[in-house]
């Protein structure tokens, strides 16, 4: 039977998506399911790994059914995933030992504080390229080992496994307790704080620093290579790629050359710049990370500007405040007014990530007067994404020494025209969306298809990239400067909110 399609699984922060692509990189079918966000305490964010697995069990066959094909017609499946989110499970039963701790969770604030005061704390950035922050997996693993009874002993005996979402799904797809393959890829491993950025392997010094037993860790593999064959859900289909979602989007946007960059707007927003075969250290608050690794070729590195909260602020407006009933209504509401009315929202829900890295910051709304309506608030919600983008683009330009001339964007928020125009306005460069907004999924599919020879090479993939929309800057310079200044003053008001003693332990 001819294998006509490649499948991608995008296990995101808010939902899991399954998409079939054809040889030209065109979407053939798509299915999606949201999972619950649990906020059991202030600063805590959890997912249920079993719920996510069940969602996949449901949507993957659905995606095949919509296209009217069987697993035999799928050449390979690639997985992209929310990064850093930590799952620990029992190797024998396959049951998670705790809820998944999501990358936005700040429960490890006090632990991170304590670790960063150690005299040897400098080893972290030197060896893995990342700052010590609650964002990454290692402090979470350590926290769980410290807080769940008997867990450390079980982990040391190799009875409990660690993984980010791709590891959890691959292990389950390949049989779970019955012979499941326990692997991760270089991009996901690069976000743990445990991988040596040059060796691309677990670093004994870092394992020791965080007190994480090696026995619980998955094997690190290239991003594009066959890891095994699915036994469940997609029986017989090769699992041939895994990448963190942001790296997958870089790949899906075909940013294969040094100097090419993209920004993905989902729950958070992430600007990644391909820096080629060498890891580049940032002096402006960006992260050094692995972009991708194809088979046995050398890894390609990236600089990353991570923004924790963009779409999540829209989600908060919808779910916690109930002012809108669907995310896209934020645009409708924002268009009821002409400007922000002097109001700014700094969504430092999990502290502020790039370029500030201030974990003690918390969200603020400033400039409130009786004049402010929910329309102005909706504008401020969207503008927060624009200004945060401006901050990381400024940092990227400073680190790279050359200025970005256009911004390639993707992700769910790119369907918001008001927002995309605002981003073009505040960056003063054109913003371009490619013909596949689901670039995360496309990147995972590309990497899987390359691994099995469905696509021959990177150049062929580039030819699939087309411009679907472009927004051209139209704001005058004076207004832009004034507004940016207001934004920066608002950001300062978010700093220093959580006092060290108030952090949970």
């Amino acid at each position: 039977m001819t294998q006509r399609y490649v499948m991608s699984i995008d296990q995101g922060t808010t939902s899991t998506r399954c998409i079939l692509f054809d040889w030209r990189g065109r979407l053939v079918s798509v299915t999606q399911r949201e999972h619950r966000q649990r906020f059991p305490r202030p600063g805590w964010v959890e997912h249920d790994p079993v719920e996510i697995w069940r969602n996949l069990e449901r949507i993957a066959p659905e995606a095949l059914a919509h296209a009217g094909v069987g697993p035999g017609e799928v050449a390979a499946v690639g997985i992209a995933n929310q990064r850093e989110t930590t799952v620990l499970w029992d190797r024998r039963t396959g049951v998670p030992v705790a809820p998944a701790v999501v990358w936005q969770d700040t429960r490890t604030a006090a632990l991170v504080e304590e670790l960063s005061r150690r005299p040897d704390a400098h080893v972290v950035r030197e060896r893995c390229g990342l700052p010590l922050a609650t964002y990454f997996s290692a402090p979470t693993v350590r926290w769980l080992l410290d807080h769940v009874d008997g867990l450390r002993e079980r982990a040391e005996r190799g009875e409990v496994l660690f993984g980010t979402m791709e590891s959890w799904l691959i292990w389950n797809l390949t049989g779970g307790p019955d012979g499941g393959v326990h692997v991760t890829d270089v991009t996901n491993a690069s976000r743990t704080l445990l991988m040596n950025l040059r060796d691309l392997d677990w670093d004994p010094v870092l394992l020791d620093f965080f007190g994480v037993p090696r026995a619980m860790l998955p094997r690190i593999r290239p991003s594009s290579q066959t890891y095994g064959t699915a036994k469940r859900v997609l029986p017989g289909v090769r699992i041939s790629a895994a990448l963190g979602d942001q790296q997958a989007a870089l790949f899906g946007q075909t940013c294969f050359r040094r100097g090419e960059a993209k920004c993905t707007y989902g729950t958070g927003a992430f600007l990644l710049l391909n820096t080629g075969a060498e890891p580049v250290a940032s002096t402006h608050g960006l992260l050094t990370t692995v972009g991708y690794q194809i088979g046995d070729q050398p890894a390609v590195y990236a600089l990353e500007g991570s923004i924790a909260v963009t779409g999540a602020l829209v989600q908060w407006f919808r779910d916690q405040l109930g002012i809108i009933s669907t995310a896209p209504e934020i645009e409708t509401l924002a268009r009821t007014v002409d400007d922000n009315g002097g109001c700014y929202i700094v969504p430092a829900f999990s502290g502020l990530f790039a370029p500030h890295w201030r974990s003690e910051a918390r969200g603020v709304i400033v400039g409130l007067t009786s004049y402010i309506t929910k329309g102005h608030l909706a504008r401020a919600v969207l503008e927060a994404t624009g200004w945060q983008t401006r901050e990381v683009v400024d940092a990227m330009n400073a680190d790279a020494g050359i200025a970005l001339t256009t911004l390639k964007v993707d992700g769910g928020m790119t369907s918001d025209n008001l927002l995309m125009q605002f981003i073009a306005d505040v960056l003063d460069v054109p913003v371009v969306r490619p013909m596949v907004a689901e670039t995360v999924s496309l990147g995972a599919a590309y990497a899987a298809g390359l691994a099995v020879g469905y696509w021959p090479d990177l150049e062929g993939l580039r030819r699939n990239w087309h411009r679907a929309a472009q927004w051209t800057p139209a704001m005058d310079r004076k207004r832009r400067e004034e507004e940016y200044d207001n934004w920066r003053r608002a950001v300062e008001r978010a700093f220093d909110w959580v006092r060290p003693a108030a952090g949970s332990s």
Partner: protein, 255 residues
């Protein structure tokens, strides 16, 4: 658990239809809008009347929302929500057809462009989201006229503008065109909005088959049409498949 009940879905669609525009529609208009047989539509309307959700004007025989329902307000699919739900399929349609894609809804006797995907040749193009197009001279507009009774009601005043020799202008000609649109489930415009320009469009339906917008491609007549001047069947197929995929995601089971 049994599946959704079709008659209730249809009843909801009729209520949504009545909640839009002028809110007074005859039986035939309602039946046409939802693609229902007159008898079926009548049965549902009678039931809705019975529960007070719908009232019938004794003089004209037209239907409108009943007092019991009015406090529920008027709501239909937000246009930004529609774009967000359709964006993946609009992209795929542009990639497959090689042409620009637009999604339109009815606004005060015109087509409001709510989404636009560039023709995938990387040439310079500008986004026309927010632009207004004529209902009578575009494929998207004809779909809206055929299935959205409120759109049809809105243009019944005034003389339609003539853009080319082929622009459909008389009411008689238009009702013949719209009957064909309903029969085939898609519409086209060939050299009607401008010489050398053509388009093909199909309805996007929500729950119960209510048409919430139309999605179509447009480009040079020589690419859209065969030498005989008819839209190429393969392009028509892409447009219909894409519109159906969006409709399915919006909950329109039958299409």
């Amino acid at each position: 658990m049994p599946g959704p009940v079709q008659s209730i879905e249809r009843a909801a669609a009729i209520l949504r239809l009545l909640a839009q525009g002028s809110g007074r529609l005859g039986l035939t208009e309602i039946a046409n809008s939802l693609g229902l047989a007159r008898g079926t539509a009548h049965g549902i309307l009678r039931t809705l009347q019975l529960v007070g959700f719908v009232e019938q004007d004794k003089a004209t025989g037209k239907y409108q929302l009943g007092a019991a329902l009015l406090h529920l307000g008027t709501s239909y699919l937000d246009v930004n929500e529609l774009r967000s739900r359709a964006i993946n399929w609009a992209d795929a349609l542009a990639a497959r057809s090689g042409e620009a894609v637009r999604i339109g809804t009815h606004l005060q006797g015109r087509v409001l462009v709510v989404h636009h995907v560039f023709r995938p040749d990387d040439s310079l193009q500008t986004l026309d989201v927010g632009m207004l197009l004529p209902l009578h001279a575009t494929a998207i507009g004809k779909v809206l006229l055929a299935y959205d009774a409120n759109a049809a009601a809105a243009v019944q005043e005034g003389e339609p503008e003539r853009f080319t020799r082929r622009t459909v202008r008389t009411r008689k000609e238009m009702s013949r065109v719209l009957a064909t649109v309903r029969e085939h489930g898609w519409a086209s415009d060939v050299d009607e909005a401008g010489p050398g320009e053509a388009g093909v469009a199909a309805p996007i339906r929500g729950y119960g088959g209510l048409v919430v917008g139309a999605m179509g491609i447009s480009g040079a007549t020589e690419r859209i049409c065969d030498p005989g001047g008819r839209p190429r069947p393969e392009l028509v197929g892409y447009v219909r498949d894409a519109a159906r995929a969006v409709s399915r995601d919006l909950g329109a089971a039958r299409w």
